[in-house]
Every structure is written in structure tokens, then in C-alpha cells.
Symmetry: C2
Subunit: 142 residues, 2 copies
């Protein structure tokens, strides 16, 4: 019985805020579906060229009082990036908090606008640990 | 700035129960890491042949009182299967509840042992709606 991974779905409180956030990371919108009857919008986003690795954003037009929420069972989404220092610098310049800075040249954690934990990993070899990252403190949890 | 999806991480209360569950779905263990110092085990599972579509199971050796948990922000994991009726029949024979039966020949929802919602979608064309699926009721939520 063949099986293929398709996507991970997260609910979002403000669609444009979330699209902007994931675009900052480098994801692109690949598909969108508006349901007039269900009063929701689905937006699929994925890294360029990566088929079957979609993040599905579900936005309910009438809002969702329970968002943002947290849970223990869901851990995080993970992406690898070409240069973790450049990515984190770019994110910080765009007001994204680096909850776990890449002190080790290898791993960072951030949060989406809806509190979804996102792990960023350095592609291929770990980078040389350098400032300002080495001295940068953790912020909150992730 | 290149970015690539790597995995979705979920925490599990009982590692073997979860491995068995995802094996039922057709996922295979591809990598395992035991951390003696951190007292946790990571198990990566993915559909055969699908690179960069890993589900990461995190198991804390000292347990996790907050599992299973639920959240609004995290929706579900989605997989497509070759024949949704065969998959659901097989899952039911293995005591998995089909929360949302594939009445439409296209879509079903189940839950992992830790309450993670999983969407199953029919690959390619929708199947002809047939019994017992057409008359099967929903169970709980998903």
C-alpha cells in the first residue's frame, strides 16, 4: 500500500501576517482555495522546487478565538537553509525574534505569528561559531 | 536564500505504540538517535522513497505528563494513499478508528496514539462511493 507525504496543516489567525512570515523564510504560495460556503481560505506554500512538502495554512474568515495556541504533541516544522547566519540576520531585520540563536553555527528556532515552532538547520557543514551569535541569549521557549 | 523542508516533529508518549501506528500507515523508520544525556530518543520515519518528508517522533524517556494534548494551531499531517478503501480497511483491522470515513471515495481522517490528526487522501482520481463507507458515521472529531 503506497503512501506519500503531502503536507502539514496549521491554522492561522491572520492570513496575510502568516503568508508574509513564511515568505520571509523563502516559501512561495503555490495554491489557494477560497470556500465561500465553508467561509475559509486554504493557502499552500512550499520551498521553491520542492514538490510534496507543502505547508497548508487554514484561515477561517470568522476568526478563531482559540488561536494562537500551544500543544505538547506538535513539536515543530524544520527547514534547512543555505546560510543560517544570513537567514537569521534577514529575519531579525524583519522583526522576527530568534528564540534560539545559532550559537553553534548549526541550529536556530523561531516562532510563526501563531506560535508554531520552526527549526532552522544549516545545510551541509556546520558554520564556524562567530559573533554576534555566540554571545546571543535565548528568548522565551520554542 | 535557499530553503528546504526537512520534517515535522511530534512528541509521543509511548514510542513503540507510535512506531507501530505509523508503520501501519506504511512509513518506515529511517534514522534513530538515542541521547543518554538528554534522556530522549528521536525516530525519523518516512514513506518509502520519499526523501525530505520525515516525520520526527520525539520520545522523552522520563515521560511527558502533558501528552496527549490538542491544539488549534496545529491541524494535521496529510498523506495520499493508493487506495483509500484498502488503507482504511487495513487500519480498522488493526484497531485504528476511522474518525472520518471516506464516504466520498476521496478523504478520511484518523488520529495517532497521541491525538495527532492525520488526513488520508486518495491518490489521483476519486474512487466510486461504495458501501460500507457511504453509510459509515463520523466518530469524534479530527
Amino acid at each position: 500500500m503506497k503512501i506519500e507525504y503531502l503536507h502539514t496543516m496549521v491554522r492561522v489567525k491572520n492570513l496575510q501576517n502568516s503568508i508574509s512570515f513564511y515568505e520571509l523564510l523563502g516559501l512561495e504560495e503555490t495554491r489557494r482555495m477560497d470556500s465561500e460556503s465553508g467561509r475559509f481560505t486554504l493557502v499552500f506554500m512550499s520551498p521553491p522546487g520542492q514538490k510534496n512538502a507543502h505547508l497548508e495554512l487554514t484561515y477561517n474568515w470568522d476568526g478563531d478565538d482559540l488561536l494562537p495556541s500551544d500543544s505538547r504533541h506538535f513539536g515543530h516544522l524544520a527547514y534547512q537553509v543555505e546560510n543560517i547566519y544570513e537567514t537569521c540576520t534577514y529575519l531579525m531585520a524583519n522583526n522576527v525574534t530568534i528564540n534560539r540563536p545559532p550559537r553553534d553555527g548549526r541550529m536556530a528556532f523561531i516562532r510563526s505569528p501563531d506560535n508554531v515552532s520552526i527549526e532552522l538547520l544549516q545545510m551541509n557543514n556546520t558554520l564556524e561559531p562567530i559573533e554576534p551569535w555566540v554571545s546571543m541569549k535565548n528568548v522565551g521557549k520554542w
